[in-house]
Symmetry: C2
């Protein structure tokens, strides 16, 4: 009879324990959790703040009792595994309620300790109104604290998934929320062009957004930033990031990887073959960069846990590595991303190009048809799809899941172009935005025409480049680039003489489709130096949102009807 | 200068014409449409009846004027192409307004005539209150007619996409609607187990649903069915199916395929290389059955049109055939399907198996979390994915689009199991329903355990087979199979002696997950003849919906909380 110990519950640990039971009815399985809850919905924690989840009890998915009766698994809560004795195959456990320390032996040990919030030694970091969010107890403390009548202003430090979700939920609960992010943008998985939509969404919903500035110190009623700026805050939430919890593994002499996570082989065994490790604490292989990476995501944790359990029982695993897919709702926007963004592709020294397409998420005359912003990254010259980002009020996660499937299967732009997706006017268009992106990508890959990205527009405008705006007059009049020439597509053929042939010409419309037609017309008429502005006017305005090249923020919002 | 004529507008014709223009600014392009509208949203027509689309003008997407100004394409409406003279490369056109007949020459001819509603010679079929739905004029006539005060009861004949959408929209407009389908089920792309959910949805929303009965004759105020049943109806909509419009092609001596569609080669050329054909009128290659098929879908039409235009200009096409993906909203349910269903797999003589999984569409504690019914068909013994069907209040189209991507790329259960989809509690679960289906499928493929399908349950019950219901007592008491033994999963280990070892035992719970655990436990305890009921109690009840094995329809709805 095998004795299997599991360190840590939640996604990784609980899945591993349950899978072991399915494979072996006779195994003795003990799961240790240092907190009071062995299984809770990690990713749902922020939603308790915004009252989307009505009670903290609902966050708890399984109790030790249900593990016992359903799976014959002993789940011991408030018990911290403090040491591994690899030679004698035992662990030392501290009962946090009684402080008693005892030992358990194992045949196999599965580590799923997760990751801890990063808490740098800021001045004031230990004040009682400073919080992190890792488990039900954390969120409960924060929830109780912010619901005191005198807590109105809250600062959230860190613009990653947790920071953004916490900020949103506190805002929905009626708080005045400041979100502070050290780098120039929130939500690092999105590129700087796409992320401006999210910056706008945060601002539009009353979040005080500060990017490019870091926390310096915390006082009783305020935070001070590196810039010297003071922000009033009766509560501070630190959501700066997480680091793998490797103390136990390190002390036991298990190998640690180059990124600071526990190193595992293809079967999720650590350097000690009797000890497996899964979840946020480990390093995994990235199938696109071919390098180690870390992912703090529930989906991969669950798959790793199952694979580890399978391997314990002699079943082969099929470890192809990860691509990194994630999604988040930010107020009215659905946001999803998979694979590499531009930054990651650059870092990995992969030759790539990208397209930015804005297309209706469903047939325009259906209720709630909205533009979906979609960015596709592909390898040059193969056209292999590397990543995608989607943001909109509609079904962004669908589009990204489709791209995730294609990336996993090694799909190319040609595959995506031909992809036969379901179509109903309620759900999409006959040629879905992902198909359109593939068509545009193929045009770029085969140099059928040239594009510039919205991030280059400001410089070009300042250098006096020639921009042709092919929208209709009334669209042009409601707001446009400085010095742009307005020649509606419908008049282009007859007014072609107004366009200079001796210098580069940059064409845009609202979303990039009419300008693409204009570019093709001009090419056929012998123009050799014509560029389409990828993302077009919608993209330009979003990109320039904070910097006001042509107009003020309020004016952009009003004129261009972003809402 | 090339002269390109296009017969038929809408998806196929208009796309081909526009693509030709992008490739060739100088070509002369004329598009002929016999109706008054050259470009309209075909798939949105039924939504005008339900006032989802508020005006018929909105259904029209592009006018002849906009084709002229934007694309320099001449779109001639109310002009019917009545003959092709292949030797002299001309067509004869009849101006339906003036009855004048004239000729146009072509270098290339593109046929996109679409498909016509099937109208068998029923008695009364030509009465003025009998309608078909093919274009804006049709839907306008129907809309005007049913909005007369004396039209309250409407019969829709045919339970395919159009029939169902028309029935739904008329019902939403307050009409008493009877939907008549000749075969035993509506919506043929769904298998008989899955489709019961749709039958229920139609009934729950007040549609008078009649399946397994056909139209015999139409009188002024009623229809009569083959069974002799009379149904009062002041209007009748025929949505029996469509047949390819091949008159022109046939008369011109172009080759017609075995299924009655225009035969084309890989480049969408007909047997005359100067004549291309695209859209609903042609036969296409099915990449899973490797046989010709017909598809009346906008997505493939648009791709074919582009490919044809590309080929005219010397670009290679990449014709991998079709898999057939479609989706439809039916009242509160989103429904989508891709690839082969069981019927199609059988017809194609492909060895397959299937799994039926019911899982939450998002994390259970999030608002609007609902069960998603998901069926996956895979090849035996390779595990290659052949098709899928999804129905639920949540994001069914997402799951099917992911499967469509996998099918296109030749993906297997193993690929689907590992598929790294985006996860946020708002959109899905850490292990999405599609991943779960792959895990169950692999278990079945590798004979890790055995399953029976819900369609077999009735016979087994009647033969006195042993059913163990492992739901909790209170679930069991609110409704259960006749003679089922209730042993909750949590009591299974201690009550295992109550289970017979000398005969087959069939285990079910609510959705199939607890019963899977029970099956594994029993297997480990030496039981060799244990089956999991795929789809479990939810599936059984839905399947038995019309036949009332254990209880009446009302009781099922009340007890089992299907709503």
């Amino acid at each position: 009879m095998k004795k299997v110990l599991v360190v840590g519950g939640v996604a990784g640990g609980a899945t591993a324990a349950v899978r072991v039971r399915r494979l072996d009815e006779k195994a003795e399985i003990i799961m240790f959790e240092k907190g009071p809850h062995v299984s809770f919905s990690n990713c749902s924690l922020p939603y308790y703040l915004g009252r989307v989840v009505e009670s903290k009890e609902k966050l708890v998915l399984m109790t030790p009792e249900s593990f016992k009766t359903k799976y014959n698994i002993e789940a011991r809560v408030n018990q911290e595994v403090i040491r591994i004795h690899r030679e004698e195959k035992t662990v030392e456990i501290k009962n946090l309620e009684t402080n008693e320390v005892y030992k358990e032996s194992y045949d196999v040990l599965i580590l799923s300790p997760g990751a801890n919030p990063v808490v740098p030694p800021f001045e004031g970091v230990n004040l009682p109104h400073v919080f992190t969010v890792r488990n039900v107890a954390d969120i409960d403390r924060l929830h109780q604290y912010v619901n005191q009548s005198n807590v109105e202003r809250i600062a959230v430090i860190g613009g990653g998934f947790i920071g953004v979700e916490v900020a949103e939920n506190l805002r929905e609960a009626g708080k005045v929320v400041t979100l502070v992010e050290y780098s120039p943008q929130i939500m690092a998985p999105f590129d700087e062009d796409m992320v401006q939509i999210l910056h706008k969404e945060m601002l539009d919903h009353g979040i005080q957004l500060i990017v490019g500035d870091g926390l310096k110190k915390i006082t009783e009623n305020a935070i001070e930033l590196n810039s010297g700026k003071q922000v009033e805050a009766q509560a501070v939430v630190l959501a700066i990031g997480v680091k793998p919890e490797i103390t136990l593994a390190k002390e036991a002499g298990l190998e640690i990887g180059e990124l600071g996570g526990i190193k595992v082989n293809a079967n999720y065994q650590t350097s000690d073959p009797s000890i497996y490790a899964v979840g946020d604490a480990i390093e995994v292989y990235h199938r696109l960069t071919h390098k180690p990476t870390r992912l703090a995501l529930a989906g991969p944790a669950v798959r790793q846990a199952r694979a580890a359990a399978d391997h314990i029982y002699g079943q082969k695993t099929n470890n192809k590595g990860v691509i990194g897919s994630s999604s988040v709702k930010i107020f009215d926007l659905n946001c999803a991303v998979t694979g590499l963004n531009e930054r990651a592709a650059k870092e990995a020294n992969i030759r790539y190009d990208s397209v930015y397409v804005i297309a209706p998420d469903k047939v325009g005359l259906m209720p709630n048809s909205n533009p979906l912003h979609f960015k596709l990254i592909f390898e040059v010259p193969t056209g292999r799809i590397l990543g995608a980002q989607a943001i909109g009020k509609g079904n962004a996660d669908k589009r990204i899941d489709v791209i995730a499937a294609l990336i996993t299967m090694g799909g190319t732009l040609e595959d995506l172009k031909e992809l036969e997706l379901t179509y109903s006017p309620m759900y999409s268009t006959a040629r879905d935005v992902v198909n359109i992106a593939a068509l545009v990508g193929l045009n770029i890959l085969h140099a059928d025409y040239k594009q510039v990205h919205v991030s280059k527009v400001r410089n070009l405008v300042e250098q006096g480049a020639t921009f042709i705006d092919v929208r209709e007059n009334h669209e042009f009049e409601s707001g446009h680039l400085v010095n742009a020439i307005n020649i509606p597509l419908s008049e282009l053929r007859e007014r072609v003489d107004e366009i200079p042939r001796d210098k580069p010409v940059y064409i845009h419309c609202r979303s990039g489709q009419r300008s693409y037609n204009a570019v093709k017309i001009l090419q056929h008429l012998g123009f050799t130096n014509v560029y389409n502005v990828s993302g077009s006017f919608l993209g330009i305005c979003l990109y320039e949102y904070f910097t006001d090249v042509t107009t003020s923020r309020e004016k952009i919002v009003t004129d261009y009807n972003f809402k």
